[in-house]
């Protein structure tokens, strides 16, 4: 089934699909970000695919690689019971076209990716912070944002106030 998906997609969009990989039975396709909206509309409407459920949309930070971020989309088809993973590679400061016109559920997922990574989405109706307070600075899930804020108190430092980093 996976080979059928990848061959048909490569026929229809030859320049957009950049890499195809398979690991543990799952198919991953890297797509050029400018062609995301037409490709996803095709995936949703074509009866062979009918990917009408966007399971998940998330970001991954590969610090030290150019382009730095990956935006990962997990698609599922309820009729045909198959899954697909799409990836878009994007550099810091660039933006990705928003998929709210294809699946409405992308709305909150994209807000969360913007909140935690700082990746902007063009065409999103209301791109604002969703999980962190409105006036928070920084993007926590990036690899250069420190995890620990406050020093743990042991017997050697219990008599002074704890140091706060980050």
């Amino acid at each position: 089934m996976e080979n059928l998906i990848s061959t048909k997609l490569k026929e229809k969009f030859p320049e957009s699909t950049l890499e195809i990989a398979e690991f543990r039975g799952e198919l991953t396709i890297v797509v050029k970000k400018e062609d995301m909206v037409p490709l996803c509309t095709f995936l949703r409407d074509d009866p062979d695919f009918s990917f009408n459920f966007l399971s998940d949309l998330c970001g991954v930070d590969y610090l030290g690689r150019k382009p730095r971020f990956d935006v990962v989309y997990h698609l599922y088809s309820l009729e045909n019971n198959h899954r697909l993973r799409l990836k878009v590679k994007v550099e810091k400061g660039e933006s990705v076209p928003s998929l709210t016109c294809v699946w409405n559920t992308a709305n909150w997922h994209e807000r969360e990716v913007f909140d935690l990574f700082g990746i902007t989405f063009d065409g999103h109706p209301d791109l604002s912070r969703i999980l962190l307070p409105e006036d928070w600075e920084g993007y926590p899930l990036r690899k250069d944002f420190p995890l620990t804020r406050e020093e743990v108190m042991f017997s050697h430092n219990k008599n002074r106030p704890p140091k706060i980093t980050g």
Binding site: P133, P146, T148
Partner: protein, 172 residues
């Protein structure tokens, strides 16, 4: 000897402090402030197996103006911290705070950018209950300890206002 022999049956002699403290501890009304997992154990404590109604505490008031005990049950995030302080300020005197669980006492398992490391950075806490989540029996022991603490409070000076004044003077 003395006056006690001549008192008729059904009359109790006590001091004003003891009477006031007894009435305060016997019907503490908690504010319904469950944040996370500890809230489910708090609900289980109020349910039928471990009954909170026997302490007079079965009514969880929704409004802070009508409550006198705030049980902070769960982790307090940075976005929620101003809300906790606002609710504490809206409660009227006398008021007490129980920090239930490891996350409310010290930040618990989560030592990171998002969680306030201990709710005592925001409000003054009377009793800390460790556990993740603490069993209902542990919560009841914490409440009983709070009752003993209330029994020892004095009416002469309002200790709570002194405590707050001391905290505020060290901050500024």
């Amino acid at each position: 000897m003395g006056l006690e022999e001549h008192i008729p049956k059904g009359v109790l002699l006590t001091t004003l402090e003891k009477a006031v403290n007894w009435s305060r501890k016997s019907s503490l009304w908690p504010l319904g402030f469950g944040l996370a997992c500890c809230a489910i154990e708090m609900m289980a404590t109020a349910a039928s197996r471990f009954d909170l109604a026997r302490f007079g505490m079965e009514i969880f008031r929704a409004s802070p103006r009508q409550a006198d005990l705030m049980i902070v049950a769960g982790r307090v995030s940075n976005k929620m911290a101003p809300v906790v302080r606002l609710l504490y300020d809206q409660m009227s005197e006398p008021k007490w705070v129980i920090a239930m669980g490891a996350c409310a006492s010290t930040g618990g398992v989560f030592n990171n950018y998002a969680i306030v490391q201990g709710v005592d950075k925001i409000v003054p806490v009377d009793i800390y209950i460790p556990g993740c989540p603490p069993r209902p029996e542990q919560l009841i022991e914490g409440i009983t300890k709070l009752h003993k603490k209330i029994e020892k409070e004095s009416l002469k000076r309002n200790q709570r206002i002194d405590q707050i004044k001391r905290i505020e003077s060290t901050e500024s």
